[in-house]
Symmetry: C2
Subunit: 414 residues, 2 copies
C-alpha cells in the first residue's frame, strides 16, 4: 500500500476528550475513528490489525476442533428469561429495543443462552457430544462509563467459544486444552511473557474462575504474581487463593494488569435452567456440561498498544502489525523514485506487506509517521543510500539504524 493512497492521515494532537493512551495513539495514527464514547470504527489500517489478531485466534480455536459460526445481534427476550439474565437487575449492560409490534428484544452482550437454545435443535443424544463452536461477534454492552478507549467499549469484537460435554471430566479435559490454546494465542500476539492464567472470582462450580491477565499499567486489575512458579492471583481472591495454593503473600509481586481473556465452567447450570437435556447411553435424560471461553479481540488490540507504545507512538509486534515494513523514500528525483519503486515491487513479490511512503513530504515527517504507526521494520531509500549501495534499516523497537543490503533485509522479513 502506498501512503499517498491511504485516506487516513496522522494527527499531531489527540482529541481532547480521549484520556486512554490506546485510543489517543490509535486515533492519532489513523487506526480507529471515534464515533462516540466507547464506540470506534476501524479504518483500513485498524481492520488489518484486527484481522491479524482474529486469524491467530481462529487458527488456535480450529486446532482444538472449534467450529466457527456466527450467531445474531438480535436476541428474543424468551432466550434469556429462563436463566433470569433478561433482567436489568441481573445484567446491567443490556441494550434493548422493540419490534414494530412493541415486543422487546435484546442486543447481544453475550451468547451462552443463545448457543444452548440453538444446540437443542441439533443435539439429541450423548453421541452428539462433545462439540465446540465459536464466533467472532460484535457485542454491544451498555457500559455506564467508557473511558478506556478500545479496551472497554460499548461496541467491541469478541471471540467467544462454547463447548458442550456429557461429563464433568470431559469438560475439564477440554477446558485444559483450551487453556493451553489461549497461552499459544498470547504467545503469538507477543504478550506471552507477561500473560498469566489467573485465579479470579466468579466461578460457578469451583471457588475460582480463570482469567488471562497481561501485566500492563493501563489495566484495571491488580495481580499478585509469582513468575518462577508461573502463578498469578487476582487481588479480589488473594486471601483465599494464597491459602489454597499454600504460598506466602510476601513471595508475590504486585502489578497492574489487564484481562485479555476469561474462561468459565458453567457445569450443568444452563442446561438445567433452560431444560435442555440429551439422551444418555442408558436411555435417561442427562444434563449438558457447558463452558465458555472469551477473548476480547479489540480489547487485546488496545492492550498491545498500551503495553508496547513508547514516546514516539505505537510499536506493533510482527504478527499483529498491519504492514511488516515501512519503506521511506527520501527525494522525488527520477532515480530515487525508480529505486524505491523497484524495492517496493521486489518486497511485494516476496509476499512482504509494505507500507510505501511515496509522499512528497519532509523526511522528518515520514520518520515521525513511521514511528507513530508502529510498523515493526523501517527502511530508507535515498540518494545517500543509493551512493552507498546499502539501505538504511531500523527496527521500530530499537534506537539505532544500520546499513544493510537488500538480501539482508529480505532475510529479516521472509
Amino acid at each position: 500500500m502506498k501512503v499517498s493512497q491511504l485516506f487516513t492521515k496522522t494527527r499531531k494532537q489527540a482529541p481532547a476528550d480521549e484520556t486512554a493512551k490506546n485510543a489517543q495513539l490509535l486515533i492519532r495514527a489513523g487506526y480507529v475513528y471515534k464515533v462516540m464514547a466507547g464506540v470506534y470504527a476501524y479504518t483500513p489500517l485498524g481492520l488489518r490489525v484486527l484481522e491479524n489478531i482474529k486469524q491467530i485466534v481462529r487458527e488456535e480455536m480450529n486446532a482444538v476442533n472449534g467450529q466457527e459460526l456466527i450467531m445474531t445481534n438480535l436476541q428474543p427476550k424468551e432466550t434469556w428469561e429462563t436463566t433470569t439474565r433478561w433482567s436489568d437487575d441481573v445484567v446491567d449492560v443490556w441494550f434493548k429495543t422493540k419490534l414494530k409490534d412493541e415486543s422487546e428484544i435484546g442486543l447481544a452482550w453475550s451468547h451462552e443462552e443463545a448457543i444452548m437454545e440453538m444446540m437443542q435443535q441439533y443435539i439429541e443424544s450423548y453421541k452428539d457430544l462433545p462439540t465446540s463452536v465459536y464466533q467472532f461477534q460484535t457485542k454491544l454492552r451498555n457500559e455506564l462509563r467508557a473511558k478506556s478507549g478500545i479496551m472497554r467499549g460499548r461496541e467491541f469484537v469478541m471471540k467467544d467459544m462454547y463447548s458442550l460435554h456429557n461429563t464433568a471430566e470431559d469438560l475439564d479435559e477440554y477446558y485444559e486444552k483450551v487453556k493451553q490454546a489461549y497461552l499459544r494465542v498470547y504467545d503469538r500476539l507477543g504478550l506471552g511473557k507477561d500473560t498469566f492464567v489467573t485465579f479470579a472470582s466468579g466461578g460457578a462450580f469451583t471457588k475460582f474462575s480463570h482469567e488471562f491477565q497481561t501485566i500492563c499499567d493501563a489495566g484495571e486489575d491488580i495481580l499478585y504474581v509469582h513468575r518462577e512458579k508461573n502463578i498469578a492471583v487476582n487481588e479480589e481472591v488473594l486471601d483465599d487463593a494464597v491459602k489454597e495454593l499454600g504460598i506466602d503473600k510476601s513471595e508475590l509481586e504486585k502489578v497492574k494488569s489487564a484481562e485479555v481473556g476469561n474462561i468459565f465452567n458453567f457445569g450443568t447450570e444452563k442446561s438445567e435452567q433452560m431444560n435442555i437435556y440429551v439422551t444418555g447411553q442408558d436411555g435417561s435424560q442427562q444434563p449438558i456440561y457447558l463452558a465458555s471461553y472469551g477473548i476480547g479481540i479489540t480489547r487485546v488490540m488496545g492492550v498491545i498498544v498500551e503495553k508496547f507504545a513508547d514516546d514516539h507512538g505505537i510499536v506493533w509486534p510482527d504478527n499483529v502489525a498491519p504492514y511488516r515494513l515501512y519503506l521511506v523514500r527520501i527525494g522525488q528525483g527520477e532515480e530515487v523514485v525508480a529505486e524505491a519503486d523497484k524495492l517496493y515491487q521486489t518486497l511485494r513479490d516476496k509476499g512482504i506487506e509494505v507500507l510505501y511512503d511515496d509522499r512528497d513530504a519532509r523526511p522528518g515527517e515520514k520518520f515521525a509517521d513511521a514511528d507513530l504507526l508502529g510498523i515493526p521494520h523501517r527502511v530508507v531509500v535515498s540518494e545517500k543510500t543509493m551512493t552507498a549501495g546499502k539501505l538504511e534499516y531500523k527496527a521500530r523497537a530499537e534506537a539505532t539504524s544500520e546499513a544493510i543490503e537488500v538480501d539482508a533485509l529480505l532475510a529479516k522479513l521472509v
Copy 2:
C-alpha cells in the same frame, strides 16, 4: 470435514412457520438456524458460503481501489438529524435504544451519514479525493414483516461501498466502473446470465437509480427485460423508462425478479445537508459528490438457493459452495474405509475442499443429504467401485452418474 464431526444435522421437515423456500431448505440442510422471524444464525456450513460470497465481492471491490474498513452498529442521533433521516417518519426501519443517561442512539440500518461524518476528519482538500471505502456490516432493520427468509432479514450482512469525488464527472466515471465490477461479481456467483442492470426509481439526481435484478420466481419485483439489447426496467418506472429508451413495451419480457444490488448517486446532497466541504484548487469551499453501492450478502445467498434449488434440495454454484465435493463412503469394511480415507487425503492434499460422509448410515440417506446440501460434485467409494477400479461420480446439477478414475475426478476439480 467429516460429516460425523459436523454438529448440524439435516432435517426431513421444514419448520412449520417458515414459508420461504430459501429458509426452508437452508434450515433443513443445516446452513442457518432461525432465531426469530427475519433473524438467522449461520452455522459452520452457512458461514462458509457467506465467506465465499464475501471474498468474491471483496476481490472485485479491491479491484476498483475500494479500501475495506468497518464502521459501527451504534450510531449517535446527531449523525442523522441534519439529513432528517433520524425521524421514524422518514426512515421506518430504525431500531433505536438508549444509553444509561437516557440519550437515544440508533442501530445502523445504513451508513451514508456515518461515512460522511467520518471522512470529514480525514478529507481537507480536493487533493484527498476521490476515495472509496467499503465494509461488510451487519445491518439491523426493523421490518414490519419478515417472511422472505434470508432474502429480507431484520438482521443481515451487507457490503456497502461509498465513493467521494470532487466532480460529477469523476463520480460518473467511477460509478460506471463499479457497475462493471458488480456484473463481474454476479458472473462469479453464477448469476451472471440472469442478472440485469435495471432502471428503477429513487435516483436523487437523475430520474432513475440503478438496481441489479436477478430473474427469480421468489423475487418481490416485476421486471421488463430485453435480453438481446441487455435492457431491464423495473415495473415501477416502466412508462417513463420505455419512453426515454425509445423501445416498445411489446418487445419486453415480463419476469419476476429479486434485487441483488443497488447503487445510488447522491450528488452533493449529503455534503450540503451535513455541511461538509473540501478546499478546492482555487481555495474555495466545494461540496463533495457521494455515491453508495450495496450488495446484500445474505440476500444474494438466499437468491442463489431460490434460483438453483430442485426437488431434492439446494444446488450451489462451484464458487459459492461450502465444499466442492461430497465424498460418500458406502460400507464400514476395513478395506473400503481405508480406500475412502486415502481418497479424502489425496483430495485435501490437492487443496480441494471435501465433505466426507464417513457415517455408518444407509446409502440412500447419504445420497439424500448430498443432494439436500447441494455440494456441486459427488463421488462414491464402495466395494463395487473398488472392484471396478473406478469411482462413481455425479454432478449435483445432473441426473446421471458416471464411472471415472481418480485422475479424471481431479481434473474436474483442480
